[in-house]
């Protein structure tokens, strides 16, 4: 759980200044440090960015009355603006999950 919060917080801060791919960095670092099993690392890493990007997207979606997310949904042909929010969450989650797993595996390799 602490892993989730750390990844989430650091990814949030980095993403303010750096391009989108910086969200992989906290996963790599904290995955390595926490040395959880690969699958568990993936899940925590995924959850962290799913919550961060999903939460940010949901906030903007609501504050914007869904104006832009509805247009993007139509552009992508996905039907509902909430699916656009969901895609955002899953994309962030997938990247972070992979990064966290990679970090943890790197450390396990060292240990072995």
């Amino acid at each position: 759980m602490i892993l989730v919060l750390l990844i989430l917080a650091v990814a949030f801060l980095l993403n303010l200044f750096l391009p989108w791919w910086c969200i992989a960095i906290p996963g790599l670092i904290f995955g390595y440090l926490f040395k959880e099993k690969a699958a568990i690392s993936f899940v925590w890493g995924f959850v962290a960015l799913f919550l961060l990007w999903g939460g940010q997207a949901l906030y903007i979606h609501i504050a914007n009355d869904g104006i832009l997310s509805t247009r993007i949904a139509e552009m992508l042909g996905v039907g509902s603006p909430l699916i656009v929010v969901l895609i955002t969450a899953v994309l962030g989650g997938a990247v972070s999950g992979l990064a966290t797993m990679t970090g943890s595996l790197a450390n396990q390799k060292n240990a072995a």
């Binding site: 993403n15 303010l16 391009p19 989108w20 791919w21 992989a24 690969a38 990007w53 940010q56 997207a57 903007i60 979606h61 504050a63 914007n64 009355d65 104006i67 832009l68 997310s69 509805t70 247009r71 993007i72 949904a73 139509e74 552009m75 042909g77 895609i87 955002t88 994309l91 962030g92 997938a94 990247v95 992979l98 990064a99 797993m101 990679t102 595996l105 790197a106 396990q108 390799k109």
Partner: protein, 805 residues
């Protein structure tokens, strides 16, 4: 290899990052695009903008930009330089993507932005071959020769660039994120390119080649009947009773029996069929206030964001409100404290094609005036995003750029046509519009018009002094009757344009006795006007309807004029529906079809959204018209010229045995009754298939399928199915995504007042509630009262202060 190998996991991660950072086809790089901090989410507006102080290098003084409750920007500057610099800055702030895509299009550079796509590539090639960038450069030279114009375009460009430089990638308009592109620096050349775009849209029509083919196939009498005869109902822009007190200069008609090699197809630009406009002004004798009222509504292909943006420009000696094109300084349609002005397009044949013979395949020499003459050449490079650059060589004769007239013809040698176009003439239209912005009386208006080259427009004018006027204005070649109606002989200099109609001979009228002036793209002047302008004008219906109404109206108020802009009455329907009903053979109809026929008979000819007859009439007449020509016209490879509906109706009503009525593909001899009946059944089936059983689904508001698409055709970014009345032939010319792109009414007087509305908003950001904020008012014809400030107001929605470091 085990799945939990760190190596494999790392590769997977890197691959994932790369894939999500790459654009595939039209799919944006997904990671970048969905990033809540810098992707499209960053463009979602979550609060009204706030007051801000912005540092902008190059301003001479402080500028205030007040945004009113509809977010219309009102720029208050202390000198002209700052005024136009701020206009550039604010326009870019609201509409940067639109500005850029229009100039990429006009420069034949869309491939650079969009990448490999054959449709886009062809469009770019055609744009280059039309000499658009070449002529834009010539135009810019002319603008730069005028010190005041050059200062304006430079200040404007500096303003746009100040805005672009202030942007970080997360602040780019959302369209750049969709295309994975970045804005580039603005230059005065781009302003010229936009001007070329106007010329192409409004003065880029020609039917020379089609007329030549039609004459070859159907004979000279047919041409005379349809393309050399004015419909009797025409009520020209400059009234018939206007007399001309000048000695006209008559061009020499060549003695020649030249017949062009009938070309299969020519790469002419197909101008949008929906281009046309209304404007009118009434003088004080007809208004409740005793001062003139002016109205204008330019019809164009409707787009999101709107092609127009409202703005007020205020500086010492300058106070003008209205709408302009994004990328062109000043106001194009609007008013100031003393005068008002608006434009409609002039039907004038200012584009002709000349058949060219080259000495050999090098195209270095062409035959003219009994000798070989040198051509000139220009290399065009079309860069393609992610692809190879395309090189194209343009060849010019003294007429203009040369194109292959039969590109798809494999059986014959290429046939070459050179283009002579007023769009290639150097000119400075900026001077005209800035002049109108600052005009305070009739003489200023005429002086401003003199510099104008094209696209030719009918400039309506009204002043607080009480004058109203209409000038059919532009640079017109002085042609013999019907010169350039067909493809011309490029080897004979006698076919060249021999000069220009002097400006003071352009059709115009000031304060006519009837108390009003008007234009709706119909014939420019009465038969007595001593020059030839064109064989192609809009059908008479809109113009006549406007004049019929204005003749009867008295004690006119601005509200009357606004209502008139929403008039849906169809003179076109009135002129043919009773006959078509008579022609229908009732025995051939089923019960439902007969029932609907009585509904058609009771129709009031209003093209209203809630009625079912307009949509039925639209498809019924369309099929009837097509069925007359379809069979014969299909006999010829390549397109032939179709008559306008008004002349067609005139002919068909007077000649029931018109020779094209018979369907040559059947053994029987069809009558006009047969065609009207078959078309009736066709229309019924069509509506039944696409709009369901007869009922509300047949309402014209649905059937006209009025979609306002995004300027870059991005799905989801338009305003779809905008339910409204109107028709091409009605004053409210809305239909199928075309129509009044801005409706304006101005009451002159000690305190000039304006009303207006367009379908769109100020903001070009699809993530802003303001993006489509005016669409509903536009749909209902509820004009906004415009905030025309005499000085900077106390109250504002928000205010930007621009100042130099």
């Amino acid at each position: 290899m085990r799945f939990s190998s760190p190596f494999l996991s790392a590769i997977l991660l890197v691959a994932c990052l790369l894939v999500l950072n790459t654009k595939f086809g039209s799919i944006p790089p997904l990671g970048k695009f969905f990033d809540p901090d810098a992707g499209f989410w960053a463009n979602a507006e979550t609060s009204v903008p706030e007051n801000e102080i912005l540092e902008i290098d190059g301003l001479l003084d402080e500028v205030s930009v007040v945004f009113d409750e509809r977010r219309v920007p009102h720029i208050f500057a202390q000198n002209d330089h700052d005024l136009f610099m701020a206009q550039g800055y604010i326009t870019a702030q609201q509409r940067l993507f639109q500005m850029e895509i229009q100039t990429y299009d006009a420069a034949g550079r869309l491939s650079e932005l969009i990448g490999e796509n054959s449709g886009v590539q062809n469009r770019d090639l055609t744009t280059r071959r039309w000499g658009m960038p070449w002529a834009a450069e010539k135009k810019l030279e002319k603008v730069m020769q005028d010190s005041s114009s050059s200062r304006i375009v430079k200040a404007y460009a500096d303003g746009v660039n100040a805005y672009i430089e202030s942007l970080s990638p997360d602040e780019y308009p959302v369209e750049y994120k969709v295309l994975d592109a970045a804005p580039e620096a603005w230059t005065p050349l781009k302003t010229s390119l936009l001007h070329m775009n106007m010329l192409r849209t409004l003065a880029g029509g020609s039917s020379d080649d089609r007329t030549s083919r039609t004459k070859a196939f159907l004979g000279e009498e047919y041409i005379n009947k349809f393309f050399k005869t004015r419909p009797a109902s025409v009520d020209p822009i400059i009234p018939e009773d206007r007399t001309w007190d000048f000695e006209s200069i008559q061009p020499e008609v060549p003695e020649s029996d030249f017949i062009p090699k009938t070309a299969e197809r020519i790469q002419f630009w197909e101008p949008d069929a929906g281009v046309g406009s209304n404007n009118w002004a009434v003088d004080g004798s007809k208004t409740a206030s005793g001062y003139p009222i002016l109205a204008g509504d330019p019809h164009l292909s409707l787009s999101m964001p709107s092609i127009w943006m409202e703005m007020q420009l205020h500086a010492p000696g300058y106070n003008t409100y209205g709408v302009g094109f994004q990328g062109i300084p000043g106001i194009l349609i609007g008013f100031n404290e003393k005068v008002a002005f608006s434009v409609t397009n002039t039907g004038s044949d200012v584009l002709d094609w000349y058949e060219i013979e080259f000495k050999d395949a090098s195209k270095n020499e062409y035959w003219n005036d009994g000798k070989w003459n040198s051509t000139t050449k220009r290399i065009e490079e079309i860069k393609v995003k992610g692809g190879e650059t395309i090189i194209d060589t343009l060849v010019f004769t003294h007429h203009g750029p040369v194109m292959v007239a039969n590109p798809d013809d494999t059986t014959r040698e290429p046939i070459y046509h050179a283009m002579r176009w007023v769009g290639h003439e150097p000119g400075n239209s900026l001077k005209t519009f800035i002049g109108l912005n600052k005009a305070s009386n009739y003489d200023d208006y005429v002086a401003a018009l003199e510099a104008y080259v094209g696209p030719a427009q009918n400039f309506v004018f009204a002043s607080t002094e009480g004058d109203i006027a209409m000038w059919v204005n532009g640079k017109f070649p002085n042609k013999w009757d019907f010169q350039g109606q067909e493809v011309s002989d490029g080897s004979d200099p006698a076919f060249d344009w021999q000069g220009w109609i002097p400006h003071q001979h352009n059709p115009h009228v000031k304060n006519p006795p009837r108390g009003f002036v008007s234009s709706a793209n119909q014939e420019s002047a009465g038969e007595s006007y001593p020059y030839y302008l064109t064989d192609e004008n809009a059908p008479y219906e809109r113009g006549k309807r406007i004049n019929d109404l204005l003749k009867e109206m008295k004690e006119i108020t601005p509200q009357d004029m606004m209502n008139m802009q929403m008039d849906d009455y169809s003179l076109h329907a009135e002129s043919i529906v009773p006959e078509m009903i008579d022609w229908v053979i009732r025995d051939s109809l089923n019960f439902k079809e007969i029932e609907f026929l009585s509904q058609m008979a009771s129709w009031n000819f209003e093209m209203d959204a809630d009625l079912q007859q307009p949509g039925f009439f639209y498809y019924w007449f369309r099929e009837f018209y097509r069925s007359v020509f379809r069979d014969e016209y299909a006999q010829v490879d390549g397109s032939l010229r179709y008559p306008h509906r008004d002349r067609f109706i005139e002919v068909i009503k007077s000649d029931a045995d018109f020779f094209l009525i018979d369907n040559i593909e059947t053994d029987e001899k069809e009558t006009i009754q047969d065609l009207a009946t078959a078309a009736y059944k066709h229309a019924y089936d069509l509506l039944d298939t696409y709009y369901g059983k007869i009922g509300e689904g047949w309402n014209w508001g649905f059937v006209m399928n009025n979609d306002i698409e995004h300027v870059g055709q991005i799905p989801g970014f338009g305003a779809m199915d905008v339910y409204t009345g109107g028709s091409a032939e009605a004053i409210n010319a809305t239909r199928f995504g075309y129509g009044p792109s801005w409706r304006m009414v101005v009451e002159l007087g000690p305190e000039v007042k304006g009303w207006g509305v367009y379908p769109g908003g100020i903001s070009g950001n699809p993530g802003s509630p303001n993006y489509d904020a005016f669409v509903e008012n536009w749909r209902l014809g509820n004009h906004f009262e415009l905030n025309f400030y005499r000085e900077k107001p106390e109250k504002a929605l928000f205010e930007l202060t621009l100042q130099s470091n």
